[in-house]
């Protein structure tokens, strides 16, 4: 009996000694220990929905991008907290005078999580993979690739255009040269798209990444996409426990950049907004995204850090020129003058929101400070309506009451304020609330049943084409689907301008003309979406593109 007790005591002592020793080792291995914000530990962030999978190229939504951004890097990225481009996996890049050949000087000594080297061959493997992707199922899920490159080696979709991708050559280990068939203004901004992250060629092959199979009326993705995503990012994939709704990522000790401060990052999926807030208050998660505007003050008062992202979005009031009355520029200008947008920002806008004069934020190239502005002027609105013979105007105003968007946190309230402003100048407004899916988007974007509507956009990358080009670059049912050829041509020309100065001037002119000559919609506000963390969290840098990387985050222990 005594011997057994002794064995137990020795075992306990040994385990304790090992644990203390291990803790000591772990502590000493970590870099950047400083003062209060200890390294190590776990950062738990509440996600609002399931990711689709973790293969960057097959994703296009924020909930999938959040974990992907922690595991993968792009050639070009954004300076933390800004939309300004900086080197990612490429230390530098340049294009030839035609804008069709892009040369990337790659970072040396970078390794993928599986230990294979990152080099020019790996970059070209990724570009070639995207371009040569086969099968309708796979191609249908490459939304951003299609948006940027416009097509595949062999298109599955009828009507899809020719891809602008030509080839990618690895000149040497650290130099990748990408050739395009024609210049596109989206570059280099689009190289920072999370969808275009660089994955390990070995892992892509080993886990059969290109196999997207169709089963009935849905798709099944590969083992790479679900279980073995391998990139170069600050965190490695730990697992996705779907029964618990937890994605676990582990610190990558070999990361080429600033190594993660926490040992583990857990993204806990909590679909109900109220529950996310309650978990934050209970201290069971340390961060949540997109708090409701009504909760911001309360959360800040309770000691949480409500961090506003610099606004990189736009809310606009769309005008459908299918209605003959709205074809008259004076009527559209009257609508613009009728709106008291400053008051809307102050009463209904999230903190930090500001009135928009253009359809893109002022941080984007081509923003013109001297566009025609429409200050609140109801008298002028009435006068313009009178001149246009549209004094008894009745308009159907569509809005989606059932969704919130970073640029539109409270559609019902926004509609009410704007409709009141319009009615104050004599425009009769019929409010048409329609559900986002199966109502609003169909009626507005496909059938163009509306006269007015509210909608917006969050930028994907820093390029005027991603804002103005997306809205007004071609005929859309939203604005009347008509041939506003002068506007389309001007936008096409600006997008095709290669040299920086010329591009800036062309886009500035487009913005001036949109405000004064074409006015297809009225820009309403830029609204900074917030991210909230507990007071124990340090180092989180909020990104205007919601492109937060959690390697800088530490949690006070």
């Amino acid at each position: 009996m005594q011997a057994r007790r002794l064995r137990t005591a020795v075992a306990i002592a040994a385990v304790t000694a090992l644990a203390v020793g291990a803790a000591g080792c772990a502590e000493s291995e970590r870099d950047g220990d400083s003062g209060e914000a200890k390294t190590g530990g776990t950062f738990i962030f509440a996600g609002a929905g399931d990711p689709k999978n973790f293969d960057p190229i097959f994703n296009d939504d924020g909930e999938s991008f959040r974990p992907i951004r922690q595991m993968f890097d792009t050639l070009v990225t954004h300076k933390p907290g800004t939309a300004e481009l900086t080197g990612g996996l490429a230390e530098s890049w340049e294009h030839d005078p035609t804008g069709k050949v892009w040369t990337f000087k790659l970072r040396q000594g970078v390794k993928f999580h599986d230990g294979t080297p990152f080099n020019a061959a790996a970059v070209c493997y990724n570009f070639d993979r995207w371009y040569n992707m086969k099968g309708a199922a796979a191609q249908a899920n490459m939304i951003y690739y299609m948006d940027v490159f416009g097509g595949f080696a062999k298109n599955e979709a009828e009507g899809a255009g020719e891809s602008i991708y030509d080839k990618c050559e690895a000149k040497d280990d650290n130099t990748a040269v990408l050739s395009l068939k024609k210049y596109k203004g989206a570059f280099p901004g689009a190289f920072a798209l999370t969808s275009l992250s660089i994955a390990s060629p070995e892992a892509l092959k080993k886990y059969d990444a290109d196999t997207v199979t169709q089963s009935g009326d849905s798709f099944a993705y590969s083992a790479f996409a679900n279980e073995h995503p391998v990139g170069t990012g600050p965190f490695t994939f730990g697992g996705w426990d779907k029964a618990k709704g937890e994605i676990t990522l582990n610190r990558n000790p070999d990361y080429w950049g600033d190594k993660a401060k926490v040992d583990k990052l857990i993204i806990k999926i909590i679909k109900d907004e109220n529950t996310r807030k309650q978990e934050l208050r209970a201290g069971t998660v340390q961060g949540i995204d997109f708090p409701a505007p009504a909760d911001r003050k309360a959360l800040a008062d309770e000691g949480f850090q409500v961090i506003d992202r610099p606004a990189f979005n736009i809310l606009y009031l769309g005008i459908n020129q299918k209605n003959p009355k709205l074809k008259d520029l004076r009527v559209r200008q009257a609508i613009a003058y009728a709106l008291n947008r400053q008051q809307l920002v102050q009463t209904k806008g999230p903190g930090g929101a500001k009135v928009a004069d253009e359809f893109m934020p002022d941080t984007v190239l081509g923003y013109a400070p001297d566009v025609q502005k429409y200050e609140y002027n109801p008298e002028k609105a009435k006068q313009l309506l009178k001149e246009a013979g549209a004094e008894n105007l009745t308009l159907n105003f569509y809005y989606p009451p059932d969704v919130t968007r970073p640029y539109m946190p409270n559609p019902q309230e926004i509609f009410t304020v704007l409709a009141n402003d319009l009615q104050a100048v004599g425009i009769k407004v019929n409010g048409v609330p329609r559900p986002w899916n199966g109502g609003f988007k169909d009626d507005v974007q496909t059938f163009g049943k509306h006269d007015l509507h509210i909608l917006g956009w969050t930028g994907d990358y820093n390029d005027p084409g991603n804002f103005v080009g997306t809205f007004f670059g071609r005929g859309k049912a939203e604005f009347g689907d008509q041939a506003m050829t002068e506007m389309f041509d001007a936008i096409g020309k600006a997008d095709a301008t290669v040299d920086e100065a010329g591009k800036k001037a062309a886009w500035e002119q487009v913005n001036r003309d949109i405000a004064s000559k074409w006015l297809p919609a009225v820009p309403v506000w830029h609204a900074p979406p917030a991210i909230v963390v507990t007071k124990d969290v340090e180092g989180l840098v909020a990104s205007p593109l919601t492109d937060e990387r959690f390697n800088t985050v530490s949690v006070k222990q």
């Binding site: 776990t42 738990i44 929905g49 399931d50 990711p51 689709k52 999978n53 296009d60 939504d61 309708a136 199922a137 191609q139 249908a140 939304i143 951003y144 299609m146 948006d147 599955e156 979709a157 009828e158 009507g159 899809a160 255009g161 169709q214 089963s215 009935g216 009326d217 849905s218 798709f219 099944a220 993705y221 996409a225 679900n226 426990d241 779907k242 029964a243 618990k244 709704g245 937890e246 676990t248 857990i266 806990k268 909590i270 679909k271 109900d272 529950t275 309650q278 978990e279 208050r281 209970a282 069971t284 998660v285 559900p435 986002w436 899916n437 199966g438 109502g439 988007k441 169909d442 974007q445």
Partner: protein, 335 residues
């Protein structure tokens, strides 16, 4: 008995086929399908056309239905539109969560409801009886989502007795064997994980149990009152049988028949109650899956399978209830 079971199962097959056609056609006629839900604001006519083709929504609805039936007859319910996981796997993951919650709620409802109902009947008109009647009225009247939010607010935000949501604490290293987290903790001897799962289970189970509890108390009370007045109870008392024997063999056993019916019906009702409860507590069961599949990505394959599964459970539970009559009361013959 066997003939009855076979007949009922055949009826079940016909019901399921009719239901499958109904669901299939209804879902595809809803405005706004998965294509728009998947593409969001970034949809262009080309990507929309490609996705519509890839998903097979460009084919006539009868062709789509034919293919769907062909697949489900081979046990292939397709994959979730959102995550690409097989539907059987998605439902298999959520199913234990709902069963665990429903079972816990039923244990609370039956465990408290039958004794309370019995005691209320025994002491009819006394304080306990009046309190029980008032309590059950409240239990039936209070909307489950309101009660859920109320309990959650009080017990997780004001007094931090319970966690606000989920089935286990985030980051806990529990082994998943059956998907029933409390049971898994016990099976793998991870008692801390079992305790943690139980701690998470309690508040949602209490929320979900309120309506069945109230119903069971009321039915037990009424049924026991009926039986108490029966001649055979008086005879048993006159014969000088022990009270325990009278209570167990004569009163409770006879009074339980309508209670079992109520339990069967309430098990079906629990599924609908679970939708709301799971939503409030982010429970991750079938209820959450249904709401997410409708409001989120319009996940047709998951929705179709879920509705069929719900119908199947409902019919089977009712069959079992019918059969249990014969067991409880030998005079009953199932026809």
């Amino acid at each position: 008995m066997l003939r009855v079971i076979v007949r009922r199962l055949l009826q079940l097959v016909v019901t399921l086929i009719a239901l499958s056609a109904l669901i299939f056609i209804w879902l595809r006629n809803l405005p706004g399908g998965p294509v728009d839900a998947l593409l969001g604001e970034r949809a262009t006519p080309e990507t929309r056309a490609l996705l519509t083709k890839a998903l097979g929504y460009d084919q006539p609805i009868l062709v789509q239905y034919g293919k769907f039936m062909q697949r489900i007859l081979t046990g292939d319910f397709g994959n979730s539109i959102r995550t690409g996981d097989p539907v059987t796997e998605v439902i298999g993951r959520a199913f234990p969560a709902t069963v665990e919650l429903a079972l816990a709620a039923m244990i609370i409802a039956v465990g408290l409801g039958v004794p309370l109902g019995y005691l209320a009947a025994r002491w009819r008109g006394r304080f306990l009886d009046n309190l029980t009647i008032a309590g059950t009225l409240l239990g039936i009247s209070i909307p489950i989502f309101f009660l859920g939010y109320l309990l959650k607010d009080v017990f997780t935000q004001n007094i931090h007795w319970f966690p606000p949501s989920g089935r286990v604490s985030t980051g806990i290293d529990n082994t998943n064997v059956t998907g029933f987290f409390v049971l898994d903790g016990l099976l793998t001897r991870e008692f801390d994980a079992a305790a943690d799962a139980l701690w998470h289970l309690l508040l949602p189970a209490i929320t979900l149990a309120t309506i069945p509890l109230a119903v069971i108390v009321r039915i037990t009370r009424a049924s026991v009152l009926d039986v108490l007045n029966e001649d055979y109870v008086r005879t048993a008392e006159a014969k000088g049988l022990r009270h325990r024997t009278i209570r167990g063999r004569h009163i409770l056993r006879n009074a339980l028949l309508p209670v079992v019916t109520a339990i069967g019906l309430q098990t079906g009702a629990l599924l609908s109650g679970a939708v709301l409860t799971e939503k409030v507590y982010n429970w991750g069961g079938l209820g959450t899956l249904i709401t997410d599949s409708i409001s989120g990505s319009r996940d047709y394959p998951v929705l179709q399978a879920l509705i069929l599964l719900a119908a199947l459970v409902f019919v089977v539970v009712n069959l079992l209830v019918d059969l249990s009559y014969a067991f409880i009361d030998p005079r009953v013959r199932v026809r």
